[in-house]
Symmetry: C2
Amino acid sequence: MNALARLGMVSETPSENQTIAAEPAKDYFVERDGQKFAGMHLLIDLWGATNLDSPELIDETLCAGAVEAGATILHSHFHHFTPNGGVSGVVVLAESHISIHTWPERNFAALDVFMCGCCDPYKVIPFLQAAFAPTSIQLDEQRRGLVV
Amino acid sequence: MNALARLGMVSETPSENQTIAAEPAKDYFVERDGQKFAGMHLLIDLWGATNLDSPELIDETLCAGAVEAGATILHSHFHHFTPNGGVSGVVVLAESHISIHTWPERNFAALDVFMCGCCDPYKVIPFLQAAFAPTSIQLDEQRRGLVV
């Protein structure tokens, strides 16, 4: 977690009479399947996709997917290119980000979904399928900041 | 190119007497080393890095790197987390994006540099070295939207 979740972890207020021991430094890396790492990064290529020229639909879709994945949205920005209608943009999350770049003339979109903490980036994928109806998806998973 | 470069490609004004043939649809994918693809995506992990708690320095560094790489900046946004000082943010480019997430308590930062068109994402790396002095860098290159 590198975000609001982090804030959550330090928001506890001790009672007046409680003795506070010197705490060890917090560690925001996660552990899963015996590995310790900073976060999960999915690179997602959509082919044969539609609705890639609508910044409103893209914004809505990525934000809904982020919330379903358990993330907290801090900021979003989408740019609509003319005359081809491609869209580039990003949702900055408390737990990292989602980005998208679309090439409507090729029915292609490149996304990346990077999430730390207990979020599940895979939960974004059904939202992409529902909004853009790709005929195929290429997916690559990277564990960023893997401690070896 | 999915951006301003794209605009540049359609800005030519024909002379008055010129006959304009029906143009084939523009293709914004790039060709390099015999491959055709949408853009180059670098995943960069910095270890043993410093200055990871300064949104101002990070903003300055990523924007300077983007310009050196030949990109055009459309938007940038950086969030500074407390109490740990981590920074999350993104520079949206006409040619895609640069993102960063930092864990100062581990001297670790995860970046991604995605660039289309004739930009060279590798030109961002010396700016990262100068600003954050990492003791090691892990680099992964992905060609997004590879046409097979």
